[in-house]
Amino acid sequence: MSIFRKAVLGAPLCLALLSGLAAAHDLVFPPGEDARFHWAAYEAFAATHDLRGQHLSVDGPWGGIDKQMFESVIAYFEAATGAEVAYAGGDGFEQRLLVGVEAGAPPDVAIIPQPGLAAELARRGHLAPLGAAIGAVMRDDYAAGQSWLDIATFAGPDGAPALYGLFYRVDLKSLVWYVPGNFTDAGYAVPRTFEELQALSDRIVDEGGTPWCIGLGSGPATGWPATDWVEEMMLRLHPPQDYDRWTRGALPFDDPKVIAAIEGFGTIARSAEQVVGGPEGVAATDFRDSPRGLFTLPPRCYMHRQASFIPSFFPAGLKPGRDFDAFYFPAFSAFSGRGQPVLGSGTLATITRDSPAARGFLDFLATPIAHEIWMAQSGFLTPHRGVNHDLYGDPVQERLSEILLGATTFRFDGSDLMPGAIGAGAFWTGMIDYVGGASAKVVAARIRQVWDTLE
């Protein structure tokens, strides 16, 4: 009996300990002190939003360090309004959200990384449309505002289009990461056009090096980094209208244009010389491990194409700008009339359970201060032009922001716009088959077949 007695006695003790662990968050930057922040807008927000005693639950994909950052932003909302916010956050967000919605207990605010998922929730009536004020912020204050607005506008349960999400935090994809010192040692210059990039890759091969590090591994999502490559190639080989038709399904997946984009990726990923480990290495390496080759001595590779979040997976203790940097994944000079296409993605703040507190929270996320608090601490990009860009903590973040704000054509990550069965399924697995040796034609036809069965 003794084990049971101890066990029964132990449970209340554990609960008592647990309840004492919720720690209060302090404000990282004292309001009013650092003049670089938009404190006036913060004070104005505080003056118009009194939510004392209200509780708000927020869920989103950010865990780990990003969670700490977001909670430091939330602390300002709590201080301004008096509301209490609980942010769950972290891996498994999509399942949590879908189960919560099905069980009739969603969070108040959900921060959704896939517009496709948000569109589906809006169609089924699980999202509340946002007011005109939020729409005005995105249209007027965001760089390429109309395109952000269009991505966040969905058909509601009645079929009428409305704005359902506010873009808060953006990831920039069209980036090539490199070590400036290694380029200097070898006498390489940063390529300005895709032709120069190809010439540089060939030169590295000629000199006995390997230009690229690529890894497609990502647990159950293995293959997704390849979809970014194909999207980049689509935007560089063909006009943006073709890209839009492709992500909507109007341009079939096995169209020669798409096959050309897949093969553009293949000239690098399926070459034994262009990429570390050859095609086998590409398929077997985890995407989080793949940039390591940039930092080995001597370097295993010189370039790594990945989105703006990747420095969190670089070795510890590196100094941005000195030990690593990024350049724009360049466009073909042959098609210079099309400008500089930039690929990116972003997270949509949506209201999953309507209340004054939820509305207030979205109003808060639209203020410059909600962006500035995060960007002054660590990796955070925003298309919001009203924020003070001097607050970027390091030169690399500043460079990324310039690329983002200077985009002539901005396009959202296509695989997040396609139906889930394609963008989070057949496209991923198809790319693994392709790297494994299947022909682009066969792979594309197979993905199209899956897409056709969805209609």
Binding site: F4, G10, L18, L21, G92, A103, P298, R322
Partner: protein
């Protein structure tokens, strides 16, 4: 032959555990670069060093920076370019572009001469050989910074009541099913078998919805009840089989003496069933302790993280850091391992005797 098979199986199980254990004590560089079986061997590492330009002084028409590279072991070679980071032997002088000269000694003392000094001094490279190093920093980081404490408390707060509750209910039920005659008993037992065959997945969302209506959704009471419900059929079945093996005469004699049913349960059934109860308790505890699925559904969105959910978050945020993942895995294995080692006799005796019937 049987011994060989046992030895092979043990090896098969121990090998990955040994790999995890060794990796969890290595630092990030070592874990990423070499396999765990090479951990005890001395290793050569190439590191980059950035001299501090502020320590430079002007001397005979050139800038000189002197200093000692951080102690990373015995320096074997050094270099000026990332392409040939170990091109020069210690003690020699390397001459680079634009009049740059560098000497490095075996203890890491260096002298760098450059004609012009900008706010960033030229970097150089050191190949050092150092004996194998092990560190407990990974564990310290997990326990201090990554929320291991709250997670293990939450796991206990979940697993203990969710083990005790179904066990007691099942003991009552098994007692009644074995020793009390009532109409429909056989049907009940058949229903029980049917419930065991039912997969739990289809029940999740309706159950959660019902709990939300009752106001206990996404909380400890809710998940305790869920685990109780999912665990009961098997628990009753195991205990029923165990009780059927006990001599019926004891219960009959007690009844003739006029002992109440409650006392029979408390004084006779429970003590005699202890091995079966303990065996099932271990079984249920381990399954709840390791469960990720039900915990993510019934505690998802709450601010409570049990160990498997915590472990998944660690995998999410430290995806490429094998040493952190290994340490986290070792930490989460500790309790099941302790429970199993402490109670494996009970488990071996109790469970088969009941379950085999």
């Amino acid at each position: 032959m049987r011994r060989l098979a046992v030895a092979l199986l043990t090896l098969l199980w121990l090998l990955p555990v040994a790999g995890l254990a060794v990796t969890s004590f290595r630092d990030r560089e070592a874990a990423a670069e070499t396999g765990w079986w090479r951990a005890p061997l001395p290793e050569t590492r190439v590191t980059v060093f950035h001299p501090d330009p502020a320590t430079g002084r002007h001397e005979a028409g050139a800038w000189v920076i002197e200093g000692t590279a951080p102690d990373t072991g015995e320096v074997r070679a050094f270099g000026l370019s990332s392409r040939a980071p170990a091109a020069f032997a210690v003690g020699t002088t390397a001459r680079g572009r634009d009049g740059l000269a560098l000497t490095v000694a075996a203890d890491g003392a260096f002298r760098l001469t450059v004609p012009v000094l900008f706010d960033q001094a030229p970097r150089f490279f050191l190949a050092t050989r150092a004996p194998a190093r092990f560190t407990t920093a990974n564990y310290a980081r997990l326990i201090r910074a990554e929320g291991f404490g709250p997670a293990i408390l939450a796991s206990f707060a979940l697993a203990v009541p969710a083990t005790v509750l179904p066990l007691f209910l099942a003991a009552f039920a098994a007692h009644a099913l074995v020793w009390i005659e009532f109409p429909g008993r056989a049907l009940l037992v058949a229903g029980l078998v049917g419930l065991m065959a039912l997969p739990l997945q289809p029940a999740l969302v309706p159950l959660l919805r019902a709990q939300e209506l009752l106001g206990i959704g996404r909380s400890f009471p809710g998940i305790w009840l869920a685990h109780t419900g999912f665990g009961l059929p098997l628990a009753i079945w195991v205990l029923r089989s165990f009780m059927r093996r006990l001599p019926r005469e004891i219960v009959d004699c007690a009844r003739l003496d006029g002992v109440s049913e409650a006392r029979i349960f408390a004084r006779i059934t429970l003590p005699l069933c202890l091995p079966g109860l303990a065996g099932f308790a271990v079984f249920q505890f381990l399954w709840i302790w390791n469960d990720l699925f039900i915990a993510s559904v019934f505690l998802g969105g709450a601010e409570i993280r049990v160990l498997p959910v915590w472990l998944r978050e660690i995998m999410d945020s430290h995806g490429g850091e094998w040493e952190m993942l290994a340490a986290a895995a070792m930490l989460s294995m500790m309790v099941p391992l302790a429970v199993f080692l402490a109670l494996h006799r009970v488990l071996l005796r109790g469970l088969p005797s009941g379950a085999a019937r």
